[in-house]
Structure formats: C-alpha cells, structure tokens
C-alpha cells in the first residue's frame, strides 16, 4: 500500500544557497557603508587670553588685516579687494622680504589677521580663508620644488624636509576679536 518510500530525498537543508545569501548580505553592507572622510580647512585657534595680559607688540607692517564685513565685502588693509585677488595680495605681502615698507619684513614675521562682523555670511568667510590657505599652499609648493624638487604634499609628514618648508613659510593666521 503505502510502502513506496524508496525514492524519498534526504531530509537535509541544501547548502548551495548559502553563498548567495552571504553575497546578498555583503552587497547590502557594501552599499550602506559610508566611509565619509571629513574634509575641510584646518585652523588653530589662539589660546584663551590670560587676565590683564597685554598682546605682544607687532609692527604694523608685519600685519595684514583682512576684514570681511556684513555685506560680504573683503577689505585688506582698508582696501576693498575682490575675493579672487586675495591670494595674490597675501602672497605679495608674505614674500615681500622687507622691500616695500608697507608690507612684511620676512615670511616668518608675516601675520595674517582675520576679522569679521557678526553678520558676515559664512560662505564669504570660507572663500576668503580658502584663498589665504591657497596662498600659503602655493608658496610652500614653490619652496619644496626649489629645495627638494617635489611638491609639498609629497614630503613625508613630520620629516625634516617638511619642517624646513614649514619654517620658511609658517602659517600665522590670527583670528581677531569681532566687532560687536
């Protein structure tokens, strides 16, 4: 009667689909994984002022005052400057080496001071800061090319070569107290 059980299959779970399941999971993880590396403009803030501490005296010629006002205009030493011109102006100021009495004595004494108003649009500030960083990046690249024949970015971190270039053109950017 019911004894035709000879051709019954083995009661086992097939392992063939396992790879596909794992692949699906893998693809899912590959898709949802976001390895977003944060990019941006790095800056070192000045430390909090001590009580009754006089700021160190700085010669006026070694200070480049950049003001971004509330209308989004950039003024460099009281001179209205289009944002596209900032890089050139900063480079001239840094590499003056005492020729023009209005500009800096030497690159390591040159200080770029940035001042903003409360209503300054953020994107104008970033554009301006980008230009200043660009000026330093170009100067450092030049220096690295001259001395070592490679781009600055190719110098190893913390190496003597990189340090030498950094010492030649130290980034001295000061954030001035804003106007209230």
């Amino acid at each position: 009667m019911f004894d035709n059980k000879r051709d019954r299959e083995d009661p086992e779970v097939g392992g063939a689909g396992m790879a596909d399941i794992a692949f699906l999971l893998l693809i899912f993880f590959l898709l949802v994984t976001t390895i977003d590396v944060d990019t941006g403009i790095g800056l070192q803030l000045p430390p909090a002022p001590e009580e009754n501490q006089e700021p160190p005296p700085i010669k006026e010629r070694n200070l480049l005052n950049i003001l971004v006002n509330s209308q989004g205009m950039v003024l460099i030493d009281e001179e209205p400057t289009p944002v596209s011109q900032v890089k050139q102006t900063v480079k001239e100021f840094i590499t003056n080496r005492g020729q023009n009495p209005e500009l800096s004595d030497s690159p390591d004494k040159a200080i770029v001071s940035i001042k903003t108003d409360r209503a300054t649009p953020y994107n104008v500030y970033i554009d301006m800061l980008d230009e200043v960083m660009g000026a330093y990046a170009e100067l450092r690249n030049q220096e690295a090319q001259q001395r070592f024949g490679v781009r600055y970015s190719q110098l190893e971190d913390e190496s003597d070569e990189q340090k030498a270039v950094k010492d030649e053109y130290p980034k001295k950017i000061s954030i001035a107290e804003p106007n209230q």
Binding site: A19, V37, D38, T39, G42, A48, Y122, Y125, D130, G134
Partner: protein, 148 residues
C-alpha cells in the same frame, strides 16, 4: 609491437567552489566589523560651503562635530539658526564650553569640526570659537566640500 595507451589524466579541471561561501562570509564579517554606524540624525539643515585648498582628516576618532544651521521644523520648514552637538540642539552657546571640555578630557588630541550651513551669519560661529578657546579645544576644522 604492442601499442602503449596513454593514460588519460584523471585530475579535476575545475576549481572547487565549495569554499566560496566561507570566503564571502569572511568578507562579510570584515565589513560588519569595520563599519562604524555612528550616524547622527541632523536636526539642522546643512549645505556645505565649498573650498579648494582643503585637507582630509584621517583620524576619525579624534573628530567631534558641531553642527550649525537653520533648525529643521515639521513640513520642510526651516526655523532659526541653531547649534547641534551630537544628538541634541544646544539652546545656549555657553553650554558648548563644558561639553567640549569634557570631550577634550577624554581625547586630548581632539579636533572640533564645524559643519556650518553656508548661509549662516558668522556671529554665531564667532561665539562658538570663543567658547572653544575657553574650553581649550584649539584645533578646529571648517568642514567644506571640494570645489570642482
């Protein structure tokens, strides 16, 4: 003379695929372990500013973010500019100092990344910077996207 019959090679010609699931599982486990799902739900709207001369921050562990932008309200409305740290909106700028000081205690090499909506007025960023100076977290980073 008798003929010698050449023995046919009886080796398998195909690569065994039985270990494939194991390989895939290895990859899967690798991805599961290395994935950091530390997602912050943004409560403020942020459109990043763009810049050319930017650096990458490789050490993600050192970074903590401050988000500044108009608050997202219900129904795609945007409210006034607010500060968000981790998962909560900070109403008072004065609270930033304590929060960041605690983070600095845990991680002395802390980098504070400011993610600011590009049409924000700079005054609020100035206030945050003052707070950061008081907290002693001096390494900051303005988060921007690469300009093409």
């Amino acid at each position: 003379m008798g003929h010698f019959e050449k023995k046919s090679a009886d080796t398998q010609q195909d690569i065994p695929t039985s270990a494939m699931p194991d390989v895939v599982f290895m990859l899967l486990i690798f991805f599961m372990v290395t994935t950091v799902l530390r997602e912050v739900t943004l409560q403020v709207q942020i459109d990043y500013a763009r810049a050319e001369n930017i650096e990458k921050i490789e050490q993600k562990r050192l970074v903590s973010y401050i988000y500044v932008g108009p608050e997202k309200l219900q129904g795609n409305q945007l409210g006034s500019t607010k500060i968000q740290i981790d998962d909560s909106i900070i109403e008072d700028v004065g609270a930033v100092q304590q929060l960041m000081y605690d983070k600095l205690k845990e991680e002395p090499r802390l980098i504070v990344s400011l993610r600011v909506h590009d049409e924000t007025e700079f005054g609020i960023v100035t206030d945050i910077q003052e707070e950061l100076r008081d907290a002693g977290t001096l390494r900051i980073n303005y988060s921007t996207n690469q300009e093409q």
